[in-house]
Assembly symmetry: C2
């Protein structure tokens, strides 16, 4: 009798992530503090064998950290495990709702070390997040060799029309430094499949 | 001591899915056979309390079913669990690689009961899938109230430029029937958050 190969989808988040964020502050007051945590996660993720991308979900007003995210595509064996996707899934688990914008759920913000790729941008409106903070630009990721996918022209405006705030270029130079270091080390640029 | 809330992301796929596909054929020869399985999953998913969307990954040449997918956002408590995302994650688990297009991995096709939303479209290039078959159009989902997100203009052409084949309108009327039935039953249109 064959086993049920379709019983579950599971990502074991690398254990250092919990240890790292437990050792940090509970609250991240400014946009810079929040993006800097995402950049720290991108750097540590790279050091631990992941892709050079980090993200985190915060309560927008209080700055309380709700959930971190790291890129764990290669280690986790699944192309979905971008940092933003991991942060959103963990945040929804912590909050206990598939809609972070549901009545009574709160008001949540995502910080991302690099502007989200086409998949992650597409995931944000369904997540109930109300705000997005970005470090590096998508163009910065492209310059070191990462494929960002086809994003809708004018996505920032489209997000704002949905009531989703967007701020870019927060600590951009620090975020780009991690991307360049990854390239210079010869890290796997796994998303660059073209055909 | 608090427990590690960030230890894992997990979806328990509804048990009926495995039972259903085990009772079906091992191979799905034509594009219609493949999309019809996705539509059957969309219909059964709705009957079991999920959203009216289904998907499946196949070996393109042989038609062997690799993995099914159903929408389990509300039941699974996570906005990521669209049918296509579930099918991709299960297929990568079965194949044992985060890149379904990796050398030696094979040649895989995704069938979707409705054209993928912005998130799922964005996920496809990273997955290594080489071909996409769609039943209902995104416009059909919009008409019953589902928000599809902002998709890049000309995404079909952009996919083809990546070597990703796209066929649409396969058994479209059958797919639309399930969407309408969901609406007529007053199903949760959870993705329609606007602000």
């Amino acid at each position: 009798m064959r086993t049920n190969a379709f019983a579950e989808i599971r990502l074991d988040v690398p254990g250092w992530v919990d240890g790292f964020v437990r050792a940090g502050p509970r609250r991240y007051r400014t946009a810079e503090d929040r993006v800097r945590l995402a950049i720290d996660l991108s750097h540590l993720g790279m050091e631990h064998g992941g892709g050079p991308f980090g993200a985190a979900v915060f309560e927008r007003r209080s700055g309380r950290l709700v959930a971190p995210g790291v890129n764990w595509v290669v280690g986790g064996g699944c192309s979905l495990w971008h940092a933003e996707i991991v942060a959103v899934a963990l945040a929804q688990k912590v909050v206990g709702h598939y809609d972070l914008g549901a009545a009574g759920a709160g008001d949540y913000e995502l910080a991302s070390s690099t502007e989200p790729c086409a998949m992650c941008l597409g995931a944000i409106p369904w997540s109930g997040l109300r705000s997005l903070l970005c470090g590096a630009r998508g163009a910065d990721a492209l310059r070191v060799g990462f494929d960002e996918g086809a994003k809708p022209a004018g996505w920032v405006r489209a997000f704002k029309a949905r009531g989703l705030a967007v701020q870019r270029d927060i600590c951009r130079a620090e975020a780009v430094t991690v991307l360049r270091e990854y390239r210079d080390r010869g890290g796997v640029i796994y998303s660059a499949r073209k055909g």
